[in-house]
Each structure stands twice: as C-alpha cells, then as structure tokens.
C-alpha cells in the first residue's frame, strides 16, 4: 500500500477540465469500439438489405421474375392499391387484431391468477411452467394442432358425434387456435410482470373504502396493469400480422394473408419488385407503429 501513497502526482492526474475532456473522449471511443462489431454486422446484414429491398421495389419485373435494373418506375407501388392487396391487408389486420384480443381475454385471468399467489416460490414455479412449452419449437407446436385436428383424429370424431363441427382443419378457427397457442405466452409474460410488481395494498385500500371487488378491479387493478396490456398486445400483434407458418399448416395455405402473399411473390408468383414494395410497406407500418407506441408509452406509462 505504501507505494500508492508515495506515487508522484503526475500532471494529468490532477482533476482539470483538460483531463475531464480527455476522459470523455476516451470513454466515447471505447463505447464506439464495443459497439463496432455489432454495428458493422447489422449495417451489412440489416441496413444494406433494407436499402436493397427499398430500391428494388422501383425496379421492373423481368421475364423470370427477378428485378431488371434498367427500368425504374412506381409500378409495384401503384399495384399496392389493387383491391386484392387491400382485401389481404384488411384480412391480415383483422386476424391479428382478433388474435390479440383472444390472447388478452385468455391471458389476463391466467396472469392475474399467477400474480395473486401469495408465495413467491409458487409464482415463480407457475411462471416457469408457462415458459416450458413455449421453449419448444414453434413449428412443432403448430404441427401438434395439425395432428390433433386431422380429419381422422379424435377431435374431429368428437365434433362429428356431437354435431358441433365437421372438420376444423384448414378453416379460420384452426388458424386462430394455432395463433393463440403460438403467441399466448407473449401476452402472459408482460401482463404477469405488470400485475406482479403492482402495489396490492392499493386494492386492499380500495376494498376498505367500501368499493366492491369488481369496482376495485376496474378502478385500480386494470389501470395499473395497462403497461402490461399494451406491451403484450404489441408482442402478439406484430408476429400475428406477418404470420406465415400457422396459416400455411393449419389454414392449408388457402387463407391468403400478408405473410404468405409476400412469400408468394418470391416463389411461384415470381414478382420480386412487387414483393419488395409489399415488404417495404409492412416495414414502414411497423416502424411507424413502434415509434408511436414508444412516444405514447413514454408519456403515459
């Protein structure tokens, strides 16, 4: 320790504006260097592809479907106004919205139930139990319903015996079951997080002041869990809007949705510029929605 005290004070060691500036510059440089590898990687494999897609949405479709680089125009963008595109966009929007609502209705009482267990250990174990099936492959989880709803399967047999449904596979209800099954945990987790850290004494105070249970819930619990509702809705809505695997497997690829429609342009429809215009639109909409959400969230939450 003695050499510590004996150390000669070097000129730079004395606190001065000069030293502070130097430290700030060094820290700024280090921050940049830490980020540099990821920065470069994402610039090359994210920003650049983003620009390419945007630029090629103005290209012309050649005979083989690949964009030709000679003729630039707005054709692909004007095609977005086509009634078919509008139908598909509206259908996707409603499917995503309805799926978000279904998840919310199912997940809220569920998350509430977990968050109101008095022991911390019980809550943690129940939450892990929600996550375990969620970690298994999304494709496998979708396939599970493909198997269960198969035309010879037990669910179909039960439905036919009771006269409730004839065949569920390749119908809209099947797609919804798959979507809810796939994205429900996205809703449960933020709802649980919001309810878990809530100050429950507030609810008790409300009850003490002669508010009924439902009233206390409506006036206290619900508003306090709003950040969870918003976060969960966004987490479910975004992937539902671009859903590709679920409508394909459970809808039989018959229900035309945005995700499948975009993929189609790069597959059998072979119209890359139009597919690029569609992708650009969905990107712009998502970006806009996210910015609006964060701006609004920053003010109210």
């Amino acid at each position: 320790m003695t050499d510590l005290r004996e150390r000669e004070p070097i000129e730079d060691d004395v606190a001065s504006p000069k030293l502070e500036r130097k430290a700030r510059r060094r820290s700024s440089w280090r921050g940049f260097m830490h980020a540099a590898p990821a920065y470069v990687y994402l610039t090359v494999f994210f920003t650049l592809p983003l620009i390419i897609v945007f630029v090629f949405s103005f290209a012309t479709r050649s005979n083989i479907g690949l964009p030709s680089l000679s003729d630039w125009n707005f054709d692909s963008w004007t095609r977005l106004a086509h009634p078919l595109v509008r139908t598909i966009a509206i259908r996707s929007f409603w499917m995503a919205t309805f799926n978000t609502l279904l998840c919310l209705v199912l997940a809220y009482p569920f998350a509430y139930w977990i968050a109101t267990r008095s022991k911390q250990l019980t809550r943690t174990l129940l939450l892990i139990a929600v996550l375990v099936p969620f970690w298994s492959n999304f494709l496998v989880r979708t396939y599970a319903w493909r198997m269960l709803l198969d035309s010879d399967g037990y669910i179909t047999q039960v439905g036919q015996a009771l006269g409730l449904w004839d065949r569920m596979l390749f119908t809209a209800p099947a797609v919804f079951i798959g979507l809810v099954y796939g994205y429900l945990p996205f809703m449960v987790l933020p709802l649980y997080a919001a309810l878990e850290r809530m100050d429950w004494d507030l609810v008790e105070a409300g009850r003490d002041l002669f508010a009924s249970g439902p009233k206390a819930f409506q006036k206290i619990t619900l508003p306090l869990s709003k950040p969870g509702i918003i976060a969960g809705s966004i987490l479910v809505f975004i992937p539902s809007l671009g859903a590709y695997v679920t409508p394909d497997i459970l809808g039989g690829g018959k229900t035309n949705l945005l995700g499948n429609f975009i993929a189609l342009q790069f597959g059998s429809a072979a119209n890359w510029p139009f597919g690029s215009a569609l992708s650009s639109t969905i990107l712009i909409v998502m970006l806009f929605a996210t910015v609006v959400y964060f701006r609004a969230g920053g003010r109210t939450v």
Binding site: R24, S27, S28, W29, G31, M33, H34, A35, A38, Y41, L42, F45, F46, P49, I52, V53, F56, L106, P109, F110, W113, T116, R117, S118, A129, L131, W135, S136, N137, F138, R141, Y143, A144, R146, M147, L148, D150, D152, Y154, Y181, W200, V203, E204, I238, G242, V245, I249, G253, L258, G259, I262, A263, F266, W272, G275, S279, L283, M286, L287, T290
Partner: protein, 270 residues
C-alpha cells in the same frame, strides 16, 4: 393473509384456479399428445395403434433428415457464439458508455430486427444474397442470417441484466489498479454471466426454431431440420413427423434445463 391474495374473493379465486389449470392443459396437452403418438404403431398420425418404435427407426434411417439435423446443430452453435459475443459487447457499449458518436442510431438499429416480421427480414436477406452474389446459398448464408437476428435478442437480455448491476463494483476494481481486461473478466463478466447465458440460450433456441428466414436463404442440399420438417408437413403428414417433433422437444427441454442449471450456478457464485 397478504393483500396480494386478499384482492379476490374465495369464489372468484376458485374460478381463476380452474381457468388457470385449463390454460395449462391447453398449453401442455398438444405437446404431450405428439410425444405419445410418436410411439404409436398406427400409420395414422392422430390414432393410437399400440406401442411401437418403428417411426424412430425410420427417422434415424432417413439420411436427408439426419443431414438437416446436423446442419441445424452446427448453424445454431456458430450463430449463438458469434451473436453472443457481438450482442454482449453491444449491450456494454449502450449501458456503460453514455455518449459516443452514432449511439442513438445504433440503439434504434439494434431493436429493428426484433420488431419487424420474419417474412420481411427473410425477403431482405434473400435480396442481399442474390444481389451481392458474394456468398452462395447454403450453410454459410443461413449462419450469417441467424447471427443477424440473434445479435439483437442477446443484446436486449444482457442489457436488462446490466441495468440491474452496480457500476460501482467495476469502478472499485479499476481503482484497485485492475486493468480493463482484468476488470471485465473478474468483475463484469461473472456478474452479467446469467444474462449472457440467458441471451445465448435464447439465440440457440431462435436459431433451432427458425423456419421462415432459413427457408428463404437456404441452398441446395443444405437446409435445417425445421425447414425440412416444414416441407414434410406441407406434403403429407406421417407419424415419422411425430418422432422428429419429439426429438426437437427433447433437445429444447435439455437446453432449457442445462442453461437453468448453469444460470443457477452463476447466480450462486455472485
């Protein structure tokens, strides 16, 4: 009795419990059924026909399938290691260094791959690989694509961990004349290790999970297990898919259990 469970009446609570167990049944039963039916002798996927291992025999004899499994494992491991290193450094740069040129843009860029739909990212990467013609479609292109979406997820998880960490510990270490590298390896890394492991697990899972992006950037003869299985499901479903699904479920469960164990050990050491 705490105010937490006094918030609902006994009857409401009972209804909530019934609903809770029903949701758990909804979450677990389909997966359990796939596992059960993978041992069924019946050639019909959803019908029980006595115990048999024939679908597992067929699965292990399927060369294409085993090849895609091997691809999946290699791609997942490489993309996880690279994405974890890059994502952790990115999280450190945003949490520890408040002011540097381009920080705001980087912060936004890092979140983008998470918020855009899979299909859009798939299209972007497909266009990049076809237009630049630098890398042929195959294992390399899939790995590069997986790193691109994994960096962001790792960064978010590690950043959440860093936010809960006291920077005073690092200051103390450097005050005691520990070099920057020593401070990182002896103080910072052990403290954020649970976060780094959590991020790595998520990256591994996402890589093993991905169908959409991989199916756009795959090459002839080089595909991953989920994309191969997706192709099978689209054609016609056979109980062999039940066996593959059970294999994939087992892999995921082992990964989660392993990483939970590692995280616990890392937490206890702190």
């Amino acid at each position: 009795m705490t105010s937490r469970n006094a918030a609902t009446s006994r009857w409401t609570d009972r209804l909530l419990a019934i609903n809770g167990w029903l949701v758990f049944a909804f979450l677990y039963l389909p997966i359990i059924m796939v596992v059960v039916f993978s041992f069924s002798a019946s050639a019909n996927v959803g019908i029980w026909g006595g115990f048999s291992l024939r679908w597992y025999e067929r699965m292990f004899a399927n060369e294409q399938l085993m090849n895609s499994l091997q691809n999946s494992v290699i791609i997942a491991l490489i993309s996880t290691v690279v994405a974890t290193a890059l994502g952790t450094a990115a999280a450190l740069s945003l949490d520890r260094y408040r002011r540097w040129i381009g920080r705001g843009a980087f912060d936004g860029l890092l979140y983008l791959p998470i918020i855009i739909p899979d299909v859009a990212m798939a299209v972007m990467l497909l266009m990049w690989f076809t237009q630049t013609e630098l890398i042929p479609f195959g294992r390399t292109s899939i790995t590069l694509a997986h790193i691109a979406f994994n960096i962001s997820f790792v960064a978010i998880i590690v950043r959440a961990r860093l936010a809960n960490m006291d920077p005073a510990m690092e200051d103390a270490a450097s005050d005691l004349y520990a070099g920057r590298w020593k401070t990182f390896s002896n103080v910072t890394l052990p403290m954020i290790l649970p976060g780094v492991l959590g991020g790595a697990l998520l990256a591994l899972t996402l890589s093993l999970d991905d169908v959409v992006i991989t199916s756009f950037v795959q090459g002839p003869g080089a595909t991953t297990l989920p994309v191969y299985v997706f192709g099978l499901i689209r054609k016609s479903i056979t109980p062999e898919i039940n066996a593959v699904s059970t294999l994939m479920i087992t892999i995921s469960m082992l990964l989660v259990l392993g990483s939970l164990g590692l995280q616990q050990r890392a937490e206890r050491r702190n």
